[in-house]
Symmetry: C2
Subunit: 200 residues, 2 copies
């Protein structure tokens, strides 16, 4: 029998969309049907936007951020340089999350991952050497890595490598998430939140 789900062009589009995070084969098919139904409003603009992004996207040679220029908009913003603050993150997604939080002027350094001997990720696979070169230009480096074992190992490794540069090294506070209920928090977070308690 003839292929029922609409020819190789549609089949290939389903396969590619299914590889996006958050989508699978079933939701990929739904997405393709939605695209085809909204051809002029969504499918045509999406194809054009992808083409433009493919041509425009750059990885910032200084910090590892993703932008359409290099150095990126953040690295070429003089107000951010004056802050003297360099925030080290694992991934561009973390950088975007901090920017959405409106944390005030700062620059970033994207490591590109964390140290993970099991996955074969060593210091040379991350942008740690570039970080060491940038460090002297800043007064404070915040290690905003994830609170996982690998994240904390990476933070310790970077702290060792930065010893002697004189730059202040800090990390994000642990504590109760805003809006969070104590009852649902793990013991580690609760005990850290109590230790770091502040005056009311």
């Amino acid at each position: 029998m003839a292929n029922a789900t609409g020819g190789p062009e549609i089949e290939q589009l389903i396969q590619l969309l299914s590889r996006l995070p958050g989508l699978g084969p079933r939701s990929g098919r739904r997405a393709v049907l939605h695209l085809i139904k909204k051809k002029e409003q969504l499918m045509v603009p999406l194809a054009a936007a992808l083409e433009r992004a493919v041509a425009a996207v750059r990885v910032c040679e200084s910090c590892g951020n993703i932008d359409t220029v290099s150095p990126c908009g953040i690295c070429s913003d003089p107000r951010r340089a004056e802050s003297g603050l360099l925030i080290v993150v694992e991934d561009v997604a973390d950088l975007w999350a901090l920017e959405r939080a409106g944390i005030g002027p700062a620059r970033y350094h994207v490591l590109g991952g964390v140290l993970s001997p099991l996955d074969g990720v060593g210091p040379d696979d991350l942008s740690i050497d570039q970080l060491l070169r940038r460090a002297p230009d800043y007064s404070e480096i915040v290690l905003a890595v994830n609170a996982t074992v690998e994240g904390q190992t990476t933070a310790h490794y970077i702290t060792d490598r930065l010893a002697g540069t004189g730059v202040t090294i800090t990390r994000l506070a642990h504590g109760v998430p805003v809006g969070g209920e104590l009852d649902y928090l793990d013991e580690g977070t609760l005990s850290q939140a109590l230790k770091a308690r502040t005056r009311f």
Copy 2:
């Protein structure tokens, strides 16, 4: 401060991807970061696949299926014509679901929705007239509409309109889903499954 999430090209791509079913603003951003990281393996092929699909996709003038040719691969398959079986579905997604189930040779008719006075969907908004014109060529019409109030209303309306054509009209069986547990089924399904019980 400069826009941190990477220029208008990236922002627009996030907005468009967020409009796909199953994705939202947060997962749209994750999807775009994933695309940018896998630029050559995923982003470039996806842009090309979308372009090809935009150019190739057709709605079959006979049955309403989506394909790259019209009449579609199903309508131009002689083995399916011989079956004498026409399956009426609400949507192309239902057609694809039945094809995946490997139901054997049949043709389809995509209604494009169900009657819904509340949403202003009347008979003229569905491809019911086309169905009436196709009906005499088939020996049996299966109304494979969803088991919702609107679906069943639509099925009754179509049955009335087809009265006098002499074609046999059937519907999908109600019963226990394969692999389903009785305990979790609603009373309506259970009572229908008992009424339609078959010899073991």
